[in-house]
Each structure stands twice: as C-alpha cells, then as structure tokens.
C-alpha cells in the first residue's frame, strides 16, 4: 500500500474509497462470553459423567412398563384437566365481559379464589372432600359415597382443571378484547347474529393472540400433573417414585421421568408452532416467515 493511498492528499483521493479493503468489526466480548459459557457447560457434563449415576438403571427403566403407563396417565391427565380448563376459561371470560353484573362478579370471584390458592393445596382439598361431605348427590335422586367418587384421578382432574380455568379465562378475555371494535360492527352489518359473529369473526382473530399463552399453559399443565403424585395418582413421577422406593436408585429414576417430560414438551412445542402459523394467516409478520 503506498503512502499516497493511506493519507489522501487531494480531494479526489479523499472521496475515492471504493477499492479499499473492508475490515469487519471484531466481537471480542462475544467470543469471550461464548468461551466462558462453553467451559461451564463442559464442567457440568463432566460432573454428571463422573458422578455416582448408574446410567444402566436409566436405560433399563426408560421403557419400563410402569414408567410408560405413568407417561400415558400423565398425558391423559393433561388432556382432561386442560379440557376442563379451556371450557371453563371460555365460559368465565364470556361471563366476565357479558355486561350482566351478577355473572361478571361471579367470574371475578372464581378467578380470585382459584388463582389465589396453590394448586397443590386445591388438589388436597378435592381429594379429602369426603371429610366434610361424606356423600355427594341430589337428595332423593341419587347419592354416592364421596370416597368412591373422589378417586385420585377425579380429584386431580377437578383440582387441576378448575384452577387452570381461572388462568385460561384471563387468556381468553385478553384474546376477545384484542379484536378491534370495527370487526364486531362489520360482522353485524352483514347481518350476523351474536353467536355467528363470535364463531366466524371474533374467535378466529382472538385465537392468534390466545394460542401462544394457551400453548404455554398446556406445557405448564404437563408438568403440573406431577403434583397429583402427592394424592397417589399414578402419573409418571409417582410411578418413578414407586420404583425408587424399592431399588433406592432415586436420581436415576428422576432422570428417566425428566427425559419423558422433555420429550412431551418438545413435541407440544412443535405442535404449538404449527397452530400459531395457522391462526396467523393474513397477518404480516407471520407471512414473512412462511
């Protein structure tokens, strides 16, 4: 490189920069940070590999029938509790914005009560309902002994589903409120009835806002079902515990359970992305990525 080029002397040379070589900015901080994190990760992996973990137990029990049965029960409970949660959520959200003061206040009270008390505590209350109501039913019509009805499955389903409904109602409500008032008016002017407007115009648009948080809640519910182990429901964590009470391989079986939770959550995340893309049709940001 000649000296004439490094320090331009004439005005023409000063503006003549097209032939110069471009040196990219260096990201030293970025490189250092990545190095530190990788080092820590390596240390963690080493710790697990030299730790007192009998990996053979993990692989032996990964597909054990008891574990797989627990996995199925976890999935069934997730679906059942979320179904109750979503139905309650939609009903309570509509009650809340219905303009009927009694319905609206009941919706607010429901939210306050079931969002306020811990989920574990609610499960235990449902499971122990027989202590205060020995029988359930309508006098003269039918009656059951509470202990017969309130099995671990039913108690967990009600406990998880009803507290979930409180959270989901807020998601549904924010979804309904996100739809522009002009959409309601346009639907009315083409002669739609209230129900048709909700179904064809409002809900499809509200779904776009509701799917990501509801997806989160489904994933949260997969993990929340582990609370049902406390009331003896045979979901995956409970079954892993049953095994390690017998063979004392506590951590190995907890890793088996972790593995299955991660598998289920990964699959659900992919499904969630698909659904988001479907309800995002017609909106600019999503289309750019398709």
């Amino acid at each position: 490189m000649s000296t004439a080029e490094t320090s331009p002397t004439t005005l023409e040379q000063k503006y003549e920069i097209a032939h110069l070589k471009l040196v990219p900015k260096r990201h030293i901080g970025r490189t250092v940070a990545a190095g530190i994190v990788l080092l820590l990760l390596a240390a963690l992996i080493r710790a697990f590999s030299v730790g007192q973990i009998e990996w053979s137990y993990v692989s032996d029990f990964l597909f054990a029938p008891v574990i797989l049965q627990g996995l199925v029960n976890t999935l069934v409970m997730t679906v059942a509790a979320m179904a109750i949660g979503i139905v309650l959520g939609v009903v309570v959200a509509i009650m809340r914005i219905s303009g009927n003061p009694v319905l609206s206040w009941i919706a607010i009270g429901y939210l306050w009560l079931f969002r306020g008390a811990p989920a574990l505590l609610q499960l235990m209350i449902w499971f122990n309902l027989a202590l205060i109501f020995p029988t359930l039913g309508i006098p003269g019509l039918f009656e059951f002994r509470t202990v017969d009805v309130m099995t671990p499955f039913v108690a967990a389903m009600l406990g998880l589903g009803i507290q979930q409904g409180a959270y989901t109602s807020e998601v549904v409500r924010s979804g309904l409120l996100s739809v522009d008032a002009g959409q309601y008016e346009a639907a009315r002017t083409i002669g739609m009835t209230q129900m048709k407007m909700l179904r064809r115009i409002v809900l499809p648009q509200a779904m776009r806002v509701m799917v990501p948080p509801v997806g989160n809640e489904v994933i949260g519910m997969v993990k929340l079902t582990s609370l049902a182990s406390v009331i003896q429901f045979s979901e995956i964590l409970h079954n892993a515990q049953v095994i390690y009470y017998a063979n004392t391989r506590v951590l190995e079986l907890l890793l088996v359970a972790s593995f299955w939770y991660l598998v289920v959550v990964s699959v659900l995340s992919v499904i969630q992305q698909r659904i988001e893309r479907y309800y995002g049709r017609g909106s600019k940001s999503i289309r750019a990525s398709m």
């Binding site: 346009a186 002017t189 009835t193 115009i201 017609g282 600019k284």
Partner: protein, 256 residues
C-alpha cells in the same frame, strides 16, 4: 327510476351522556337516490348513519327502511323490541362501508365478500365464490381475489369493502367517510367505484367531505351541524346556492 321512499327518519335523537349527538334529525331518501351528508366533525353525521342500521341505539325517534320500522315490531298499540336474530335479518338488507374498511383480516379478499352470502344468506359456496369474484372484478380487483387485506393498499381494501357490502344484495348502502382514511392519491379509485355503483341505481347515503363527489353524484345534500339538520335539498342548490349562511361558510372553508 321509481321514486318511492326507501329511508324515512323522523326526529332521531341520541345523547352520549351529557352530549347531544343528534337532535330531532329527520331525513327522506328515495329509492335509487344518492344522499350525501356533509358537515363539520362532531356534527352527528356518522352517528345518524349508525342509527339507521342499529349500530347505535337512538333515544327517540324512528327510522323506516323499505317500509320496515328498524328495531321494533308493531303489534296493535305495542312496539316490541326486536330480538338479536330479527335485528340481524333487518341489517342484511343494509350494507355499510366504514372509514377504516374493517375487512376481516383472517380472510382473503374473495372470502371477505363470500362470508355474508354463505354464512348469513346460506348460499352454496361455489355460487357465492363465483358472485364474489364477479364483484371483485367489478371494483377492479379481479386479480387480488386471493390476497389478504394486509397485502392490499387502503384504496384496494376499501374497494373490497364495497364489494363485500354489494355481495349481500342490499337495498341500501351506507358510506361512513369512505375516503377519509386514504392517502390522497387513492381517493379517486374509491370514488370512481362509488360513482359506478350510483349509476347502477343503488340507493346510497354517503357521509363525506368530498364536495366534488357530492356535486357530481348526489341527488340530495344534507348539511348537519351540532346534531341538527341545518339545510337539505337538491345537491346543486345546497352546494352552489345554500340558503343558510352557516352552510355557505362551511362549503367555503372546505374549498379553501
């Protein structure tokens, strides 16, 4: 052109809390006519338009469209409030085009036009699509049928909205400042579609600031201010030789 009365409003009054938006507004629109409503913002023009198709509830007064009393059913000496379903039935015959288009963003242009005919009128999908495509072609958007509203310009969206209103084969179309939200260079494409629609004999009530459109297309012009009708008459008279000083002042101000 038959000259029977399609829209008749008597003493329409509406308050928003302390604010009197409409004060005994009356109006008459004959079948096949274009009626423009002009006036400063806040004068009640849009509110009046929204009372016609029951988007707003009026406090007093009455409106008939096609000899049907809007919102009520007369039974001897009683007026029964109509149910949600009956109101929907009345609204089918009245199209509306909004300032902010209000197309359904999750549906394509052609689906926006088909939605009412299929869901409300119960037309078969194939027939509805064919008619919707014909309407889109009529408003010059035959090639945009499968585009979503977010992919269309404001002028194109408004033309789809007009096609959507026409798709219901209404007796009457209400236009609520249809060009006010548009970039200036897109105004004429929407006005051209409206002119074409007027020429085809559609009855239209248009709230607008486009006095040129009113002069060229409207049969009658009504000037409103502070919730009252100040002056109404044939377009040529109201716009060129207004009787009220206030009307003249407004027209001068818009042209300035």
């Amino acid at each position: 052109m038959t000259k029977d009365i399609l829209v008749k409003a008597i003493d329409v009054t509406k308050s928003f809390e302390a604010f009197k938006a409409l004060d005994k507004v009356g109006m008459e629109v004959k079948r096949g006519e274009v009626a423009c409503i002009i006036g400063p913002s806040g004068s009640g023009k849009s509110t009046f338009l929204r009372c016609i198709n029951l988007l707003e509830r009026m406090d007093e007064g009455a409106i008939w469209v096609n000899d049907e009393l809007m919102g009520y059913r007369r039974d001897g000496n009683n007026l029964h409030e109509l149910s949600d379903k009956e109101i929907s039935r009345q609204r089918r015959r009245i199209g509306m085009v909004f300032q902010r288009f209000n197309l359904f963003p999750h549906l394509t242009a052609v689906e926006n036009v088909m939605e009412g005919p299929i869901q409300v009128l119960g037309h078969p999908a194939a027939k509805a699509r064919e008619e919707a495509l014909a309407l889109l072609a009529r408003v010059g958007l035959g090639d945009k049928a499968n585009h979503y509203p977010s992919e269309l310009s404001g002028g194109q969206q408004q033309r789809v909205a007009i096609a959507r209103a026409m798709g219901m084969q209404p007796d009457l179309i209400l236009f609520d400042e249809p060009t006010s939200a548009l970039d200036p260079e897109l105004v004429s494409e929407v006005l051209d579609v409206m002119k074409d629609l007027a020429a085809s004999g559609m009855t239209m009530i248009v709230v607008t600031h486009e006095l040129g459109f009113a002069r060229n297309v409207a049969n009658t012009v009504t000037f409103m201010e502070a919730g009252k009708v100040v002056e109404t008459g044939p377009a040529s008279e109201v716009l060129t030789a207004p009787k009220s000083a206030r009307t003249a002042e407004f027209i001068r101000a818009v042209h300035a």
